[in-house]
Symmetry: C2
Subunit: 278 residues, 2 copies
């Protein structure tokens, strides 16, 4: 692998550039992004030169798409006949089914979908971190092409814990573990925003801050994620509405012990190091 | 004020002892609690001697009840005819209406209900912190007796931001800002605990950890809080079920911007220093 192109030099894209550099990659790292993002990426060393999509398609051995989900879908369409047979294309989008589907447009190049379970509260190449992927799950969803060994080694080299899943399986899982928590937080903050109680802003504890942190996320970050996983997310919301109804009934019946017990056990299991499912 | 008695030498009770000591209180601090809690309180300097409830009732100028809500109600019943007219009794319970009602049993002593909006993830006198109340809202709910000036100065001396509210107003507010977030987190963790997806434990990000932190709380901590605020909490759950239904509809309609916007604005407002409501 001589040349890597990062398309979308934001937090994830720039962190990928810094991470492979730190792991010893000495080739070119092209950056395809807005002028401001390219500038920040050059300044931090996440990319070594600015490029156009045409240049990236012509030169890169690996094209790393780190754009929002809807933009990744567009870029894959654009790359359709333009990407070379020698090129591996991958992405870091938060949903996989729509993206793997869009990758069907690639005539020559190989494609392996990906989703690094890594992030930060701050965005942009300025916040990039060479260790962002270290000890974090990195889901790959190979479909038409197997995962090339050198790509797998590259991800393991940056400290990621690579696991393969089917795209549909991934999307059903993140509907529950990522998309539902986001909407649960947003709904809570939206409800409180509409309550006409002047003391809400004084009389709260750190629990409310925990529970409204995700609600700070802007719609622009989430709309294409949720739009490409709608059926799963609606199913998760329906399950959650049922869970709220069960908690309500347990409260009425003074019988909260069982549901608190199950919840606490699950919450504790998430916090065990190297937890690998039930 | 010569003698303070702390009943229930856990995190809040022991922190109160450390805080008033740090603020210059030089009198006796009696601790009424289990043997283990008294020992930890003596070791950290949160209390200066162990006492029985009888001794506390006979000697203390201020009795600070830092037990679980149901135990505070019991203790107030016990203190009914035993507390002296010179004694001020206060409490740190998370709900106020039931406690203020139980304080009607006090024949001679004065009572002012309280709720410090302060806490920690760890419990017990071992975790006590002299600065736990600093810059935190401390709600007082005076009813039959006004807040004595020396008690208010004591709370201000430990850095608390004292505000007075009616007990009913307090309980309706914390139903939304504290009890609802707890149940929202518990319901989320309970739902995920019941899902039969082996990869839930691998494929999640820090957002799920935020949203399940409160779910770690044990039922024993919450059952008497929720039981003494049931009508308000059920109303909050009904409002929240409606908010979830609205988010679901907005997702179906690809129209999430408004609800995300309102939620993000509210979440940001909670994080402004000295936020004092809308």
């Amino acid at each position: 692998m001589q040349t890597v192109a990062i398309v979308g030099v934001g937090l994830i894209g720039a962190s990928f550039g810094l991470a492979i550099r730190k792991a010893g990659f000495s080739g070119n790292i092209l950056g395809v992004s807005s002028a401001a993002a390219v500038e920040a990426g050059l300044a931090t060393g996440a990319i070594s030169e600015a490029a156009t999509m045409e240049e990236a398609a012509a030169q890169a051995d690996l094209i790393y798409l780190a754009q929002p989900v809807d933009r990744i879908v567009e870029t894959l369409g654009w790359l359709g006949t333009r990407a070379r047979p020698e090129t591996l294309i991958t992405d870091a989008g938060s949903t996989k089914t729509a993206i793997v589907g869009a990758a069907g447009a690639l005539r020559h190049a190989s494609f392996v979908g990906g989703h690094p379970m890594a992030g930060k509260e701050t965005r942009g190449a300025q916040s990039a971190d060479a260790d962002l992927f270290r000890n974090r799950t990195y889901v790959l969803t190979p479909q038409r092409h197997p995962v090339p060994e050198d790509f797998r080694r590259l991800l393991e080299g940056i400290g990621a814990r690579v696991m393969e899943m089917r795209a549909e399986e991934h999307d059903a899982t993140v509907a529950l573990t990522s998309h539902l928590p986001q909407l649960v937080s947003t709904a809570l903050a939206a409800l409180l925003a509409g309550e006409n109680r002047p003391d809400i802003g004084n009389v709260f504890g750190s629990g409310l801050l925990d529970m409204t942190r995700l609600a700070l996320s802007p719609a622009e970050l989430w709309s294409s994620i949720l739009a490409t996983n709608k059926a799963n997310v609606i199913q998760s919301l329906d399950g959650y509405a049922q869970a709220i109804a069960e908690v309500r009934q347990a409260l009425k019946d003074d019988d909260l012990e069982a549901v608190f017990g199950r919840a606490a056990e699950f919450a504790a299991s998430l916090r065990k190091p190297n937890y690998r499912g039930k």
